[in-house]
Chain length 336, copies 2
DNA sequence: AAATTATAGGTAACCGCTTTCCTTCTCGTC
DNA sequence: GACGAGAAGGAAAGCGGTTACCTATAATTT
């Protein structure tokens, strides 16, 4: 079909110009022992022939690449859009190409991915670990490239991580709900178990209750919800169990939407009967009816900070702050 | 920090076992000229030492990899979640590792990514091209690996592509809106210009109008909307311009949500005054208030079909169907 | 028993590129 | 004019594998 094959190598360039491969390589790598005329001619030919270096070979030779891996628990979650943008723009500006991998929230899948990455000579890894994937820690440590946890982390004293201050997020939301209807119950709907955001958010909820001298009740808490349909189900159950007025803190906006609809279908009015606050501030939040009160997470900033931390590590520079918890912000809209 | 370095190579294995590298390689590649005892011992050692082959080296040597690139216009769009899952699960089952790249809807970024990919010896590429990125076609053709367009394509007679039948999608939606309120206007709100889904959806809208013998009016059409806020603005404008009842076909669910809220804020009732149908069927669609009528796109199936087509191409097998337009399905909910 | 043929494993080249020495040349200097 | 120094470029090793081609046994054949 096409007449020209593309696999132009340095050898081709060298041959065409009657110089050695070394010379070409040196020009391309900006070494100073090549005369200006030669350099120009090489550059010219390189452009003409559309040469592009073989990354595999470069990485193999140099034992390191200019690519960094992004291992994410589930890129389909709207939460990640902005975060990924933060990673990519920062990394790109620093000359790194990002490779995105999707663990689909499966620990074994993530394990495989990391193994794969370990064999690819990447320059670094940013990881948002899947649920229950602590076993991956071993692989992470065994490959000797820098990595930073992002969004989630295994332990609070983990080497390096960047995440939202999830505890503060839920604290703000819960506090707001308490102040809004003092003396009435504030329920709590949590996301998937065993991941740090869920855990921290639950802690914040508890702490806000405690600071307001409210006795927590286990009937108020619903754990391990995954999606809209889970939330809808629980919402229905809540509607048929609790007497309004009361409030609900939802660990994510997604869950809040499911609950919202369930309450609507059960004839409860939001915000009059039930106040709701989510976490995340998804794009649609302001446009829902009623618009969703939520705690906005500094997504872009999490992405940028993670990337910058990794870049520092990859450069072998000393890190000033190994762990970041970025500030969330309460946004009050119509549901509360 | 760690005592054991991880860079176990075949040489290490070979040395430890007093055999040649060749032997190890042969075992790992399942060649038949190695005795069973030796093979077992090698396998054992490989496992013990946690050896994992260096992909760079393998790809370099073999001039091809087992990785396929996914070049997507904007992974942050909710639409992609399911599609990506379709790609990945299918590819994974066939033994390919997927690398996801994000062009961020920027043609030059996409161009760079493709150049990069060209130098990585990937086995194949699935591309959802960015807006106005026809220039990338050249790179695509210059690298001699198979590629298939997915979701979007440049030309209808393009070599290989898999997409939803977007024309049919909008046709179904528009037809439904027409039948619902015969004789009243059906407006059309379009997404970004110059991408095939938008174009096809507009065609379908036009055709439905024509088949119902309705004269199209240019005041009914709004082009090149990007996000919720664009949609909200246009929604407000529409509310203050048109007399209910009328209907609106929205090229995406996102846009529909923005419009929905604008109408609500303008005191128009949906679906009584205005009927609305979107396209996509996002997760939240059934849980919105009112729940969103929409045309569901076979996302997972698009992913799988694209992947299977690419796999066929990578295997050098003959392709039966080079172009797929997958059937959408109208889902009527509360907004219409 | 000699010749043939499997069987099991090794040797060395090569994939495309980088980098560490070398080798030339050309000047400037005493 | 001989010598040392700097400039410009090349030769070759090696990164971690794969594979075509060989060699040395062991097994089979006649």
């Amino acid at each position: 079909m096409r007449s020209t094959s593309n696999n132009i190598t340095m050898k081709d360039i060298a041959k065409r110009m009657h110089v050695s491969v070394t010379t070409v390589s040196k020009v391309l790598n900006g070494h100073q022992d090549i005369s200006e005329p030669t350099r120009q001619r090489v550059l010219q030919t390189v452009k003409e022939m559309g040469y592009v270096p073989n990354l595999m070979a470069v990485n193999l030779r140099c034992n390191k690449g200019n690519m960094v891996g992004l291992v994410l628990s589930d890129i389909s979650k709207p939460y990640f859009s902005k975060v990924i943008h933060g990673y990519e723009s920062t990394l790109l500006a620093a000359g790194y190409q990002t490779l995105i991998f999707n663990s689909l929230e499966q620990a074994d899948r993530q394990y495989q991915i990391l193994k794969q990455i370990a064999s690819m000579y990447l320059a670094g890894v940013i990881i948002d670990p899947a649920q229950n994937s602590q076993s991956s820690k071993e692989v992470l440590d065994s490959m000797d490239i820098p990595y930073v946890f992002s969004n989630r982390y295994f332990a609070q004293d983990e080497d390096y991580y960047v995440a939202a201050d999830n505890k503060k997020a839920s604290y703000l939301a819960t506090e707001h709900l308490i102040q809004r209807k003092p003396g009435f119950p504030v329920l709590c709907i949590n996301g998937p178990d065993n991941i740090s955001p869920t855990i921290r958010r639950y802690e914040g909820y508890l702490e806000a209750l405690k600071d307001a001298s409210i006795q927590q009740k286990s009937e108020w808490v619903f754990n391990n919800l995954y999606d809209l349909s889970d939330a809808y189900t629980i919402g229905k159950k809540i509607a048929s169990t609790f007497q309004p007025p009361f409030s609900i803190f939802c660990s994510t906006d997604q869950l809040a939407v499911g609950v919202l609809r369930a309450l609507h279908d059960s004839g409860l009015r939001v915000p009059e009967d039930v106040g709701i606050v989510g976490v995340d501030d998804v794009d649609m939040a302001p446009y829902l009816t009623p618009s969703l009160s939520t705690v906005s997470l500094p997504k872009e900033s999490i992405g940028e900070t993670s990337a910058n931390l990794l870049i520092t590590l990859m450069n072998g520079q000393p890190v000033e702050t190994p762990r970041y918890l970025l500030d969330p912000k309460l946004i009050i809209r119509e549901t509360s």
